[in-house]
């Protein structure tokens, strides 16, 4: 993917969340956004996802500008897959129906077609036997994998993960990260917000560290994690690697 942000800014009320974000990445498959809480990484991800509208600035995805008007945004959101920290599955639908809903109602698949696509993806993620269950009967890891299945079922041009493992215990974290890594190996384009530095190191082509609403540093994992240039990065890494 090619991602270019110019002077992106966003405030919620009097709180500035993003301040003049500039980013120009080409030939990147996986971008990891890291940094302290409240640093603006989730907001940046949500702006890329078309869920949040920046106050100013422009964003180009694969050389196409994202127009921040509801009509164009809806079209944009239909081409990307977003996975949330809290899974956000629809509790009144089964795992399978969670996947077929967007296929049928947004992407004009026939019910039979949608059903086939959903079953195939569930099978791939080892969830076949859970297709008929509502989210409440699934474990956290299973829920998140269903959410990922829902996101990729529409063949998105970009997958966005907003702290996909923050609500999971370590064992389930592993099963979700494995799925994400597998998607990465398929050559899909991903942007992910994460606190898992090891994982970011392994899958990301580029890592951007956001703090105080600004990109403090951006570079390949090896350089950014092993040999950080900025003092803020060094402090942040020292703090999280301490425990």
């Amino acid at each position: 993917m090619r991602l270019k942000a110019t002077n992106l800014s966003k405030s919620f009320g009097s709180q500035i969340v993003l301040q003049n974000i500039n980013l120009d990445l080409d030939q990147v498959h996986t971008l990891a956004l890291i940094g302290p809480s409240g640093g603006g990484k989730s907001t940046l991800l949500r702006i890329i996802a078309g869920l949040e509208i920046p106050d100013s600035g422009t964003l180009f995805l694969n050389d196409r500008e994202i127009i921040y008007r509801e009509k164009e945004l809806m079209a944009h959101r239909r081409t990307v897959g977003t996975v949330f920290q809290a899974f956000n599955l629809f509790p009144h639908l089964t795992a399978l129906q969670n996947i077929t809903l967007p296929l049928e109602k947004v992407h004009q698949c026939s019910p039979v077609e949608a059903h086939q696509v959903a079953e195939a993806i569930l099978e791939r993620f080892g969830l076949s036997e859970h297709g008929h269950k509502p989210p409440a009967q699934l474990s956290g890891g299973q829920r998140q994998r269903v959410a990922i299945a829902r996101a990729i079922s529409i063949k998105p041009k970009l997958l966005l993960f907003d702290e996909p493992t923050s609500a999971l215990d370590p064992e389930m974290t592993a099963e979700v990260l494995e799925v994400i890594e597998e998607l990465r190996k398929e050559g899909r384009d991903l942007v992910l917000v994460t606190h898992q530095m090891g994982f970011a190191h392994r899958v990301a082509d580029q890592i951007a560290l956001l703090s105080g609403g600004q990109i403090v540093e951006c570079g390949p994992p090896k350089q950014l994690l092993d040999d950080p240039r900025s003092e803020i990065t060094r402090q942040f890494l020292a703090k999280i690697l301490k425990y």
Partner: protein, 267 residues
């Protein structure tokens, strides 16, 4: 095992509050409650110097029956209509068109804040009259539906608002339109939450329909009043009246409780 004491038949110690209660105990205490009620009724009526006149009133059986059927008819029609009105008002409250919001708010607050009796009188003798509309049944039905609709709109609005922001996020993320979001995400979740309250509202609606007697709609209460006037009897008319409503409302109340229980288990 403790030996059962007299006290243990009527009293659950704090330690046992979460345990299921034996059906024999339940039954015993229910019977006791009915006995107390019967005692009160017996005493009150025995103090009354009253010549019971069931036979005369009994002759009007069919008249009662017709009124009761009319009440059922009005209630069912008003239920459908008021749900529809409530839905429209709840959606209007969230509309982008600000006048609609204001109209909806005004409607809800006025209707909820004034007595139904006043509304019925006003609707029939002022508004309907101004339009030279004389059909009592229709005016009554509309007024009752508007009245219930105001409450239902607040129930629906509460249900819609209780669907979390994360669900709306998810709906937007997969690219649902606003209407699709309501249809596939908000309503199916809201309906489960509001069904008990809606069912309870229906029981109220049935009882409230009795006030339509003030504009002489021939429903259950009005018919009972007519018989009462014709036969110079009171209680022979009002006692069947009470039971007639109870037969309708009691199943709904029980259904409501069952629904509430079910919703509690689901979440």
């Amino acid at each position: 095992m403790r030996t059962p004491t007299l006290r243990s038949w009527f009293w659950i110690s704090p330690d046992d509050r979460n345990k299921p209660i034996a059906w024999q105990l339940q039954l015993l205490n229910w019977i006791l409650a009915f006995f107390l009620l019967a005692l009160l009724c017996y005493f009150s009526f025995s103090q009354l110097r009253y010549n019971w006149n069931w036979d005369t009133v009994g002759g009007y059986r069919n008249f009662f029956w017709r009124g009761w059927l009319n009440t059922v008819k009005i209630s069912v029609l008003a239920l459908v209509l008021s749900t529809f009105i409530g839905l429209i008002a709840a959606l209007a409250r969230r509309s982008g068109f600000l006048v609609l919001r204001a109209v909806s708010r005004l409607y809800v607050e006025l209707v909820r804040g004034t007595p139904l009796l006043v509304q019925i009188t006003f609707a029939f003798y002022v508004i309907a009259d101004a339009f030279h509309f004389q059909d009592r049944f229709t005016v009554g039905l509309l007024t009752l539906s508007m009245f219930s609709g105001a409450f239902i709109s607040e129930i629906i609005r509460g249900g819609i608002e209780s669907v979390g922001a994360s669900q709306l996020d998810s709906a937007r993320a997969i690219g649902l339109t606003r209407i699709q979001t309501y249809r596939y995400v908000i309503f199916p979740q809201a309906i489960r939450l509001i069904l008990p309250a809606l069912a309870g509202m229906f029981a109220n609606l049935i009882k409230d329909s009795s006030l339509l007697s003030v504009i002489s709609i021939e429903e259950f209460t009005w018919n009972a009043q007519q018989v009462s006037a014709l036969t110079y009897s009171n209680f022979e008319c009002y006692i069947p009246l009470a039971f007639g409503y109870l037969i309708l409302t009691l199943p709904i109340t029980l259904w409501t409780q069952w629904l509430e229980k079910r919703t509690r288990y689901e979440t």
